[in-house]
């Protein structure tokens, strides 16, 4: 079991190892030359300025919306909550497609900021809502009793309590942005990720692409480290055993109806625009067609790849989670932590590393479905580990001991006690990976075998040729596949420690 766990951890590190080895092979002088180029400076500025701006807008929007929905007497708050979470079901590249296809003026920094904010603000909104809900209202009441106004209490008591949730969400926005390829490519805003793809695709300049990937990974790991540090302290956000009482909502009085305009506007931009674009192109697009055979083929190959990816990833997650829960030690904790590293690895980096690795080590595997499934396994291992781990924690070892004391052998105990308890979580983990694979774009574009057409690659080839109508049916299918993933993720948010 320990060997299996260590092997999985090693697999999770393959992309990092290959980027590092490659950088060393290139040599320090050459590497330095590749890193210190005007082009790099431009990309660095583009990437970091967009990341900073998006993190700020998502933070402001996420917290403001969370407060409005969770802590005021806004009418129809449940409806708004559902609508405000809905953008999670629209992959960012589909959102980018919607905006670009409807209005060519949406591009560059401004366009990217708009589209990315609308796609990713729920990553801040959701934890902020959870934190506000879990916050003991007694804290605020204590603050009022000490003479603070509601506004001052929010500033001095509530906001500091929200900080872990807020920062965690903002860091996730940063990580997603650094990994984002499709939306930014459509919006013609070059960042490290899109540049790596272009280098790789046009010139096959392996060295330059790899060095850029190295710089990108560096920033991603910085964010991941910050996120891990925060995660350790996240429980500060929750005082008391979840609020038995709900906080008294802020009365908006005369602003009650005008304030409805805020979530309405956000929902219109984040959900309304993509929906309208899809309907528009499906109905009136000049290039719209419903090639039933191609749609079926793309759907079928997507489902097959997603199933393979889900099964492989879940199997790999099992020993890691088992060790982490049942045999807690420094080693097993380290193994578990390592499998979270891919959270910081953009699909482009994993794709590039596996291309290099396969060409150098095992050329037979290049351009095979096997390599693609390995890439999926590395990318989505964290999701599977989190789910399986949560499941195993639902099955404490004492239950197995009780079963043994009642005369049940090991196999029967596994069948009658352990498996029934962990099956739902394993299933949820597999489903999450399945859905993530189905909507994955970047690694799929780089690694899919020639001739393999998935929904994502078909969407991409149509929309990058500006055949927006032809892309629409694929986009619609991608969104439909994402809906259950969103629901599952929202449930899992509640399971997480």
């Amino acid at each position: 079991m320990l060997l299996a766990g260590a092997a999985v951890a090693l697999l999770a590190l393959v992309p990092l190892i290959f980027i590092a080895v490659y950088a060393v092979l290139v040599g320090p002088v050459e590497a330095w030359h590749l890193v210190v180029r005007p082009r790099m400076g431009q990309l660095l500025w583009n990437t970091l300025s967009l990341a900073g701006a998006c993190m700020a807008t998502c933070a402001a929007l996420g917290v403001a919306l969370a407060f409005l929905v969770e802590r005021t007497d806004l009418p129809a708050r449940r409806l708004w909550h559902g609508l405000l979470v809905a953008p999670l079901a629209v992959p960012a590249f589909v959102n980018g497609y919607a905006w670009v296809s409807l209005d060519r003026s949406v591009h560059g920094f401004g366009g990217a900021l708009l589209v990315i904010t609308l796609s990713y603000y729920p990553l801040v909104y959701l934890p902020a809502v959870a934190a506000l809900r879990g916050l003991d209202p007694a804290l605020e009441e204590a603050s009022w009793s000490l003479g603070h106004s509601r506004w001052l209490s929010f500033w001095r008591v509530v906001l500091p309590q929200l900080r872990p949730a807020l920062l965690g969400g903002v860091l996730l926005v940063g990580l997603h942005l650094l990994a984002e390829f499709g939306a930014l490519q459509l919006l013609r805003y070059p960042t490290f990720t899109t540049a790596i793809y272009d280098q790789y695709g046009s010139t096959f300049n392996g060295q330059a692409a790899t060095m850029m990937a190295g710089v990108l990974v560096f920033f991603c790991l910085l964010l991941l480290l910050a996120e891990l540090r925060l995660r350790g302290r996240r429980h500060y956000a929750r005082v008391g055993q979840g609020a038995a009482r709900r906080a008294i909502p802020v009365r908006l009085r005369g602003l009650r109806l005008p304030m409805v305009a805020v979530p309405t506007a956000i929902a219109a931009l984040a959900v309304g625009v993509p929906t309208y674009a899809l309907v528009h192109w499906l109905l009136v697009g000049a290039s719209t067609e419903f090639p039933l055979a191609e749609l079926t083929e793309a759907t079928a190959s997507t489902l097959v790849l997603a199933t393979l990816g889900a099964v492989a990833t879940t199997l790999l997650a099992l020993p890691v989670a088992w060790l982490a829960v049942r045999y807690r030690s420094r080693l097993t904790t380290a193994i578990e932590r390592i499998t979270y590293v891919p959270n910081a690895l953009p699909g482009i980096v994993v794709g590039l590393a596996l291309v290099i690795a396969s060409l150098r080590l095992a050329p037979v595997t290049y351009q095979t479905a096997l390599l693609l499934v390995i890439a999926y396994a590395i990318l989505f291992l964290p999701r599977a580990v989190v789910s399986v781990r949560a499941g195993l924690e639902q099955a404490p070892v004492v239950l197995e001991q009780v079963a043994h004391s009642l005369g049940t052998g090991s196999l029967a105990t596994a069948r009658r006690v352990t498996l029934p308890l962990i099956a739902p979580s394993i299933g949820a983990g597999a489903a999450l990976v399945f859905l993530a694979v189905a909507t994955e774009l970047t690694a799929t574009l780089m690694l899919s075998p020639i001739g393999t057409r998935t929904l994502a690659t078909q969407f991409w080839s149509a929309s990058s040729d500006l055949r927006y109508g032809a892309a629409a049916p694929y986009a619609l299918l991608l969104v439909l596949i994402s809906v259950p993933a969103t629901v599952l993720l929202m449930r899992q948010e509640r399971l997480q420690p």
Binding site: V402, L406, G407
Partner: protein, 356 residues
């Protein structure tokens, strides 16, 4: 023959000796409480009996069947002990009936008649309504979960039932009623029970035999009355029932050939046994301290009023010795009162440590 015999059992974790050469006999149909502070090794002892751990030395036997210490230890599933862990640990995916029937043979479990009779019988035994059969574990209160856990343990008619601090997570009033119900159910089932607890009131009130463990060693095993009335040493007296230790002296030259009296800060007191040495440690139970018209002067420092009784903390005026008295509530003095105290009944005397 005892239902459970533990002979010279030792278990270490690294450098820590958790259970040190413990020998214990648990008679058939009795409930034995293993009592000790946390970390004394009592849960380790229970896990050794259950088979979740193997002893480093010594043997464990159910009746004449040796399960550990000779050859390969029997696995937990071969031992067939009933095990009631802390907080019950009911299987969360099964309802009450399926939990109780879990350990029954497959045929009995599957056939609706027999297995379900046993489930009803067990529910009656632990004093839960039969309508609870279809409840889910999370729909039960803590005390109800413990009762179902006991029913589950008793259903396959185990030779011994092990209870690992089963009431520690319950609040005070529920702890007492659940404890009594569990003890009644064990007796009604003629089951042999081993109850691990750190609560001396629970051990004294529920069990037939109390085994006191300290730092892995068995200090004393006996009936609750024995342990309370004749504790092995002053520390045990303080742990079980609470007590004040006083220095005492038995003068060889005195007019007391039986050595049944000693002088102390509380005056001359009678002893339960002849004094074992000249310099003594006297153990005075709080209920032996009386207030009256005569006695030694003391000042009341603090009164904890519990209603039916009260704990009174005093300082003897002359010697400055602290003392605890327990009196019926309405008769308690107030803090700051000056009172006269005396000792009622004989006290236990132990040799003073430096005179050993």
């Amino acid at each position: 023959m005892s239902a459970l015999t533990v002979t010279g059992v030792t278990k270490s974790f690294g450098d820590t000796v958790a259970v040190d050469d413990v020998t214990l006999h648990v008679p058939h149909g009795s409930l034995t409480a293993v009592l000790g502070p946390s970390g004394c090794g009592k849960t380790t002892l229970l896990r050794l009996v259950a088979g979740f751990l193997d002893p480093d030395a010594g043997t464990i036997a159910f009746d004449d069947r040796v399960v550990a210490g000779e050859g390969r230890p029997a696995t937990p599933q071969q031992r067939r002990v009933g095990y009631v862990p802390q907080e019950g640990a009911l299987f969360p995916h099964l309802d009450v009936a399926a939990n109780i029937a879990f350990g029954l043979p497959r045929a009995e479990r599957r056939s609706p008649g027999a297995g379900s009779d046993r489930v009803d019988e067990m529910l009656d035994l632990v004093e839960l309504p039969r309508t609870f059969r279809s409840r889910q574990p999370h729909e039960l209160s803590g005390g109800q979960q413990q009762r179902v856990a006991l029913a589950r343990a008793l259903a396959p008619r185990p030779s011994v039932v092990l209870l690992d601090e089963p009431f520690s997570s319950l609040d005070a009033s529920l702890r007492e009623t659940t404890g009594r119900a569990v003890a009644r159910a064990l007796r009604a089932a003629h089951a042999t029970g081993l109850l691990v607890t750190h609560d001396q009131a629970e051990a004294l009130s529920l069990s037939d035999q109390v085994a006191v463990l300290r730092a892995g060693r068995l200090i004393q095993a006996g009936s609750p009355a024995d342990v309370y009335l004749a504790p092995h040493d002053p520390e045990l007296a303080r742990f079980v029932g609470g007590a004040t230790s006083l220095a005492g002296r038995c003068d060889r030259a005195g007019a007391d050939p039986d050595r049944r009296h000693a002088d102390s800060d509380l005056g001359r007191v009678s002893l339960t046994h002849p004094a074992p040495a000249d310099e003594l440690v006297l153990v005075v139970r709080p209920d032996q301290v009386r207030f009256g018209e005569s006695g030694v002067a003391a000042r009341v420092d603090e009164v904890s009023f519990y209603g039916h009784d009260a704990a009174v903390r005093l300082t003897l005026t002359a010697s400055g010795t602290p003392l605890v008295a327990r009196v019926t509530g309405p008769t308690a003095p107030a803090a700051g009162d000056d009172v006269l105290v005396s000792v009622y009944g004989p006290v236990h005397a132990y040799p003073a440590p430096d005179c050993d």
